[in-house]
C-alpha cells in the first residue's frame, strides 16, 4: 500500500516570501501521479499542481512549483511571493493507476503573516 508523509504539521511565512512544504511517499509503482491540494477553512479541496511521475521536468503553476525527486520519492511544493490568501491546509496526494484513487498525507497548515 502507498503511504504519503508530510512531516511539517505547521509552517509560517511572511507575506511576499518563499516557503517550501515537504512531502515524501512510498510506492513500488513506476507509473503514478502526485498532487498538491489546498484546503481553506471551507474544507473544499482545490487542486494546486500536478506532476506525472514519468516526466522529469518539474511542474509549475504561476507562483507554485514542485521539486520532484523520483529516486528519493520526494515531492516538495514551493510557494513564491506568498500571499495572505495562501493561508490554508496543504495536502500532498498520491495517485496510482492500479488503485485509481488518491492517498493523502496528513497535511501541513500554512499561515501567511502580514
Amino acid at each position: 500500500a502507498q503511504t504519503v508523509t508530510q512531516s511539517q504539521p505547521e509552517m509560517s511565512v511572511q507575506e511576499a516570501e518563499t516557503v517550501t512544504l515537504s512531502c515524501t511517499y512510498d510506492t513500488s509503482e513506476n507509473n503514478y501521479y502526485l498532487f498538491w491540494y489546498k484546503q481553506p477553512p471551507s474544507r473544499q479541496m482545490i487542486l494546486v499542481i500536478r506532476q506525472e511521475a514519468y516526466k522529469q521536468q518539474n511542474a509549475t503553476e504561476n507562483r507554485f512549483s514542485v521539486n520532484f525527486q523520483k529516486a528519493a520519492k520526494s515531492f516538495s511544493l514551493k510557494i513564491s511571493d506568498s500571499q495572505l490568501g495562501d493561508t490554508a491546509m496543504y495536502f500532498c496526494a498520491f495517485y496510482d493507476t492500479g488503485r485509481r484513487a488518491l492517498t493523502f498525507g496528513s497535511g501541513t497548515r500554512l499561515q501567511v503573516q502580514p
Partner: protein, 116 residues
C-alpha cells in the same frame, strides 16, 4: 461548468441515529469517490464508483456505512447507526475518465457531520 454538489452541508445527529448525504458529480464524470476527513487528518477513501458499479469499498465500514450510485450519476452515502467517531467531513469527488490519473479529481465542499 457546475462543480460537485453536496448536501446537506452541515448535520448534527445523536449517536445511534441515521444520516444520509447526497452527491451530484460534475456532468459526464464516470468516476465518483466518497472520502472521510476526520479533523486534523487527511481525507481517507471510503468508496469509489465507476459509473454505477463499485470499484473499491475496502475501507468502508460496511456494518454501518452504505453507499449507492443509481443510474451512474448521483450518489448517496448513508450511516446507520452513527457513532461518535463518525464525526467528520464527508467529501464527494468526481473525475472524467476510468482509471486515468491524468484527469483531475474535483471535490465538492463537503458535508460536515457532528455526532453527539
Amino acid at each position: 461548468e457546475a462543480g460537485v454538489a453536496q448536501s446537506p452541508r452541515y448535520k448534527i445527529i445523536e449517536k445511534r441515529q441515521s444520516v444520509a448525504f447526497w452527491c451530484n458529480p460534475i456532468s459526464g464524470h464516470a468516476t465518483l469517490y466518497w472520502y472521510q476527513q476526520i479533523l486534523g487528518q487527511g481525507p481517507k477513501l471510503l468508496i469509489q464508483f465507476q459509473n454505477n458499479g463499485v470499484v473499491d469499498d475496502s475501507q468502508l465500514p460496511k456494518d454501518r456505512f452504505s453507499a449507492e450510485r443509481l443510474k451512474g450519476v448521483d450518489s448517496t452515502l448513508k450511516i446507520q447507526p452513527a457513532k461518535l467517531e463518525d464525526s467528520a467531513v464527508y467529501l464527494c469527488a468526481s473525475s472524467l475518465m476510468v482509471g486515468s490519473g491524468g484527469n483531475t479529481i474535483y471535490f465538492g465542499e463537503g458535508s460536515w457531520l457532528t455526532v453527539v
